[in-house]
Symmetry: C2
Subunit: 196 residues, 2 copies
């Protein structure tokens, strides 16, 4: 019974319900009432943990950033070349994405109705990802593995390529398979398009 | 005096005023009254040419697509390699962009308040550009100048790279110079990032 659960369990339960609601209905259409119902707790219980919807949302976005960073950290092997690590992290990321429709839903919401909180949330994730990649681009560039380049800009364009291949090109054709995304990313980014 | 101008002149005058208004205030905040004032004509005059703001806007977006296509057609030289033509068209496009703040304003409006018409207008331009580039990517691929690839997807990711380098990365650093945009585009797209 809910009353017997430990506070940490209930907090997690609320977070999971909120994530599910944001994912299904978007940021704007989600209410604290809805989250309470989905979590199977009273509305009062939610307010013991989170003062308002914004705080719930920020917690979930921070969690997403943390999970992404941990995923990448677990995957990276410093002894391998930059290109191999990049492809391996992408690989893992594509698995992660399949389970996490929240970012996709938020992007759609930003696109359709421009919800400011959804946009800020996504931009925060975007900045964290760019910062993370740029650190590794910088290292690879210093080691001479890749050409000298502005690490942040390169990281940013890499992210845009990734989004173009995965989330944004569905109006052009069927979603690409994971292997196709990896192939295109390698061609575009590592080998260059020029035939040799 | 306005009354002495030929209809075609006045139509053009209205279009130019509308473009200026969309560019300055965005799609949503532009009214037919405002356009009339900027054009120095009566509101009745506008309605002889355009039934409503949507129609004015569509005419301007079609004009933008036409101008872009003509610019590229004038620049392309079939006897040159794909990569050279690509860089040359980009070069011209960067000059064009400096004069045309409308697309930038619309993108900002879509980002900030998600105005549907602004979004549809931009997407129309985007689709026209992707179709145009993909035709040339396809040709280059058939000639063996570049690797086999999905032409539409490649064109789409090229456009995204261009937008990332020009319009979307200002939060990372100072706007890039034209030469920097061209250099990055060449490195990312033709040579690949891998050091050799």
């Amino acid at each position: 019974m809910a009353a017997e659960r430990k506070p940490m369990d209930r907090r997690k339960q609320v977070l999971e319900a909120a994530a599910r609601s944001f994912e299904t209905f978007g940021y704007k259409a989600t209410t604290m009432d809805q989250v309470a119902k989905l979590a199977g707790v009273g509305k009062g219980t939610i307010y013991t943990f989170f003062a308002h919807k914004e705080q719930l949302f920020e917690e979930i976005m921070s969690g997403m950033i943390r999970e992404l960073r941990e995923l990448a950290d677990r995957t990276l092997r410093p002894e391998l070349p930059f290109a191999d690590n990049l492809m391996e992290v992408l690989h893992k990321l594509l698995d992660y994405r399949e389970q996490h429709a929240l970012a996709v839903k938020l992007a759609q919401e930003v696109r359709d109705i421009g919800t400011p909180m959804a946009r800020e949330g996504l931009e925060k994730v975007e900045r964290a990802v760019v910062t993370y990649i740029s650190r590794h681009v910088n290292e690879a560039s210093e080691k001479g593995e890749i050409k000298p380049c502005d690490p942040e800009l390169t990281a940013f364009v890499m992210l845009k390529t990734y989004l173009a291949l995965t989330a944004e090109s569905h109006h052009l054709h069927m979603p690409l398979t994971k292997e196709e995304v990896l192939d295109y990313f390698r061609t575009y980014w590592m080998e260059g398009l020029a035939a040799r």
